[in-house]
């Protein structure tokens, strides 16, 4: 079967001459050997599996809270071990720095006093929670789960596009994509040492147990969800089920004497750790939004008193604000005294007058984002926008420049994707997940999102994106004495001939 033309920029699977890269060779051969009928049947099985397991997401604004399958493309993204080692080290470095930064922002504020980041930039961020000044979470961990979006530029260099320090979603798809691919294309796995991703719930549970204020065995951990109308509800119930903990909504919890309790059929039980999938502003109507019915009145008092751990910690969102992002390389140098391992994308900040002028003069060449925007909403793709769209957007930037940042269009990498009977090149990003408990661990895999529309650079599910299974390959084992290995095998198998 034919593999389609490359887009401009880096192709994950094929080199400049159109030959499969070494780590893609077997995937390309195996998939190329299948005919369209076989692929179609397996695709139908995939869709049935996705629907039957309820692996769907809700689209806000769609009719009746429409539930859609997150489209899954079966061509896996393969990340060789040597590339992953760099990503892993870079993410550990970055998450370490992010947590030191957050600890500093809510205590001494040395980074502001030393002038590395302007005071007004931090203090004007809605994600900066002044009420939590001086309040440190258990073990000083702010971001128990971080999802960092990476893209690959035209040279093949991985670059951080943004960090997600609040409630990064998508990890359930990482696990389910692997399950589905193993069911429908088992032959693909035969020749690859793919590192498993199914232990993520255990990783997360360990991290949550680590921050429990009461060091009792099996302190009570719950997942707090806004409820089934939320776009990521499947993931909330998935994680609760896989970790074997309660899935609760705000109305299931009550605060009494600055302790949090869950209402059970057997009466109230004290809660130790809340893995919350609710944004800060909805957590506690007594502190944040008064009209919130999703949160728990008094929760922040219990948190301040150290009686309950919240993961991620409230106020952590300031670290992933798009206006703070340009300062991250300096933040890493400041706290760790190291050069950043992972590059990022050059960024212009609307709040900085010189940058603002550049942004306004080059709207047609830049990708402009709202600092508090997410999911591809509220974004201007300058090179693809009409004049009218640009002029309309300009009004917003001029009115509130502090709400905007801009970046040059990155020619993000492309990956073969099966669409309408052909393998075509579509742009992808990668969101690995970093869990911080007693130490920082990176899940060997991640959510590869793919822009299914031809020529599109936007990979978000809400904007028509899909996802892929991401294979991180095990590093080749060092050479050992062959005789010893054979003996070991004999012992394990109970003595073969």
């Amino acid at each position: 079967m034919e593999w389609a033309t490359r887009l401009s920029g880096y192709d994950e699977a094929f080199d400049r001459d159109g030959f499969p890269r070494e780590h893609y060779q077997t995937v390309v051969e195996s998939l190329g050997a299948l005919d369209n009928g076989q692929i179609k049947r397996r695709g139908q099985l995939q869709n049935i599996s996705l629907r039957n397991q309820g692996i769907t997401f809700n689209v806000y604004g769609a009719d009746g809270g429409e539930e859609r399958i997150f489209p899954f493309d079966f061509v896996p993204r393969v990340v060789p071990a040597h590339e992953w080692q760099i990503i892993e080290r870079g993410l550990i470095q970055r998450v370490t720095a992010l947590n030191l930064f957050l600890r500093d922002l809510y205590t001494e504020q040395k980074v502001l006093k030393d002038g590395l980041i302007p005071w007004d930039l931090i203090l004007s961020r809605p994600e900066y929670v002044r009420q939590l000044m001086g309040v440190l979470p258990p073990h000083k961990v702010f971001t128990h789960v971080t999802g960092t979006d990476l893209v690959r530029d035209a040279d093949g260099t991985y670059r951080v596009l943004e960090d997600n320090c609040r409630c990064p979603s998508g990890v359930s798809y990482v696990i389910e994509n692997r399950n589905i691919l193993q069911r429908t294309f088992p032959e693909l796995f035969a020749n690859y040492p793919v590192r498993p991703v199914r232990d993520y719930p255990d990783m997360l549970l360990e991290a949550l147990e680590f921050v429990s204020p009461r060091k009792l065995r099996g302190g009570l951990i719950v997942v707090l969800s806004p409820g089934r109308a939320n776009s990521a509800y499947f993931e909330h119930s998935f994680l609760a089920r896989e970790m074997g903990v309660l899935l609760v909504e705000g109305s299931d919890l009550v605060v009494d004497g600055n302790h949090v309790f869950v209402r059970t059929t057997g009466g109230r039980r004290q809660v130790d750790v809340i893995y919350r999938r609710i944004d800060d502003e909805f957590l506690d109507p007594l502190v944040f939004r008064r009209d919130s019915v999703l949160g728990v009145p008094g929760l922040m008092n219990a948190y301040r008193e150290g009686n309950v751990a919240l993961a991620n910690a409230p106020g952590a969102g300031v670290a992933d604000d798009k206006a703070v992002y340009p300062y991250m390389p300096d933040v890493i140098r400041y706290y760790l005294g190291e050069e950043p391992i992972l590059a990022q994308v050059s960024t212009y900040i609307g709040a900085r007058p010189i940058d603002l002028k550049y942004i306004l003069d080059n709207l047609d060449k830049l990708v402009v984002k709202q600092t508090d925007g997410a999911g591809g909403y509220g974004m201007l793709m300058g090179p693809f926008a009409t004049k009218a769209e640009i002029e309309e957007y300009r009004k917003g930037v001029e009115a509130e420049p502090g709400r905007y940042i801009a970046q040059p269009l990155v020619e993000i990498s492309a990956h073969p994707t099966y669409l309408e009977g052909k393998f075509v090149a579509r742009r992808v990003d990668l969101r690995p997940y970093v869990v911080y408990g007693d130490r920082i661990k990176v899940l060997p895999g991640g959510l590869t999102r793919v822009a299914l529309k031809d020529g599109s650079y936007v990979v978000n599910s809400s904007q028509g994106g899909g996802s892929k299974d991401t294979w991180v390959l095990e590093a080749p084992r060092p050479e050992t004495n062959g005789d010893e290995e054979v003996n070991g095998d004999l012992d394990v198998n109970g003595g073969q001939d």
């Binding site: 049935i48 629907r51 998935f238 309660l246 899935l247 299931d252 869950v262 209402r263």
Partner: protein
């Protein structure tokens, strides 16, 4: 440990699945009986549909004209299978079961979630022309019945026997027991009305249909052989302690599940007392109830206690 909200959803999940299974089976039985008698005795054929509609009055449907070349029957079958406006249709019950399952997904296994969604999706995926084909509708009903039994089997074989199980199964037992009572309340007046004028084969067919509509024909035969006397059938469906769909078995099951439930000391004991009284009546008042002119007042009494228990169980979430 179980959230009060989750307990209630599990209870309703059990009820709706059982309701779907009851409606599906009862529909197949009514269709089979009506086919057997359409050419012989239109009144009997219509009476079978009447019994179905009386058992599930919420359907709001009229008795189909069994002589109209099957069109009206097809319409009724379609409504009972797929019409989500019909609150007792199989699709409606399965969808409500899915709604409840979605809110307690973390308490269920992958198998249960998978088969539940699959069963519902397969049912609603049939094409319009299939719904107009009398033969195909029968097949769809049989396939759907198989799907529902698969879901129930997955639950039986994969879920933990914890407190949540008690709520799930008490919902199932509540729905099942009430269904058996509804069947008897709908059938007995019809059977009594015709008792004098019915030939033995017709009478036997009618009693077989009653027993099949509560999945008890084979179990009944093991106890009473090929004889179908009203007193035997009634005694079997109300008092037998071995058959899974008798009123007695249902009530005792609920008593057992109530014992496994935690309580803050207010509601569960009240429900347990209520069901304990019903269980005692079923154990000690059998002869007295059977000696009366009609068993129906006795069943009304049991049903009243079931309704009270249901209200306590579903009010549980509100009481915390």
């Amino acid at each position: 440990m179980l959230l009060a909200r989750v307990a209630q959803s599990l209870y309703w999940l059990g009820r709706y699945l059982e309701r779907a299974e009851n409606a599906n089976r009862h529909l197949l039985v009514a269709r089979a009986f009506s086919l057997e008698f359409e050419g012989l005795d239109q009144t009997m054929a219509r009476a079978e549909w009447q019994a179905l509609l009386d058992t599930m009055p919420a359907s709001g449907l009229a008795i189909p004209d069994t002589s109209a070349r099957g069109t009206a029957v097809i319409k009724t079958m379609r409504s009972f299978l797929i019409d989500e406006e019909n609150p007792v249709s199989v699709a409606s019950s399965l969808n409500r079961a899915r709604d409840n399952a979605r809110t307690v997904n973390e308490r269920l296994t992958r198998e249960v979630v998978d088969y539940l969604n699959d069963g519902y999706r397969r049912l609603i995926a049939h094409r319009e022309d299939e719904w107009n084909d009398a033969g195909r509708i029968n097949e769809i009903a049989e396939e759907t019945h198989g799907s529902i039994l698969t879901i129930l089997g997955a639950m039986e074989n994969t879920l933990s026997r914890d407190e949540g199980w008690g709520y799930l199964k008490s919902g199932e037992a509540m729905e099942r027991t009430q269904h058996t009572i509804f069947v008897l309340k709908a059938r007995l007046p019809i059977m009594e009305h015709w008792a004098g004028g019915m030939d033995s084969p017709i009478s036997h067919a009618a009693w077989r249909s009653v027993l099949r509509s509560v999945a008890s024909l084979e179990n009944y035969r093991q106890v009473h052989g090929p004889r179908f006397e009203e007193a035997d059938v009634v005694r079997f469906l109300v008092f037998d302690s071995a058959t899974p769909r008798s009123v007695n078995t249902g009530v005792r099951r609920i008593v057992g599940y109530l014992r496994s439930m935690a309580s803050d000391g207010r509601n569960i004991p009240t429900a347990a007392r209520c069901m304990g009284k019903a269980a005692a009546q079923l154990e000690f008042e059998e002869e007295e109830a059977m000696a009366r002119e009609s068993i129906l007042p006795f069943l009304e009494d049991i049903q009243w206690q079931l309704v009270q228990t249901h209200e306590i169980l579903t009010g549980e979430a509100r009481s915390f």
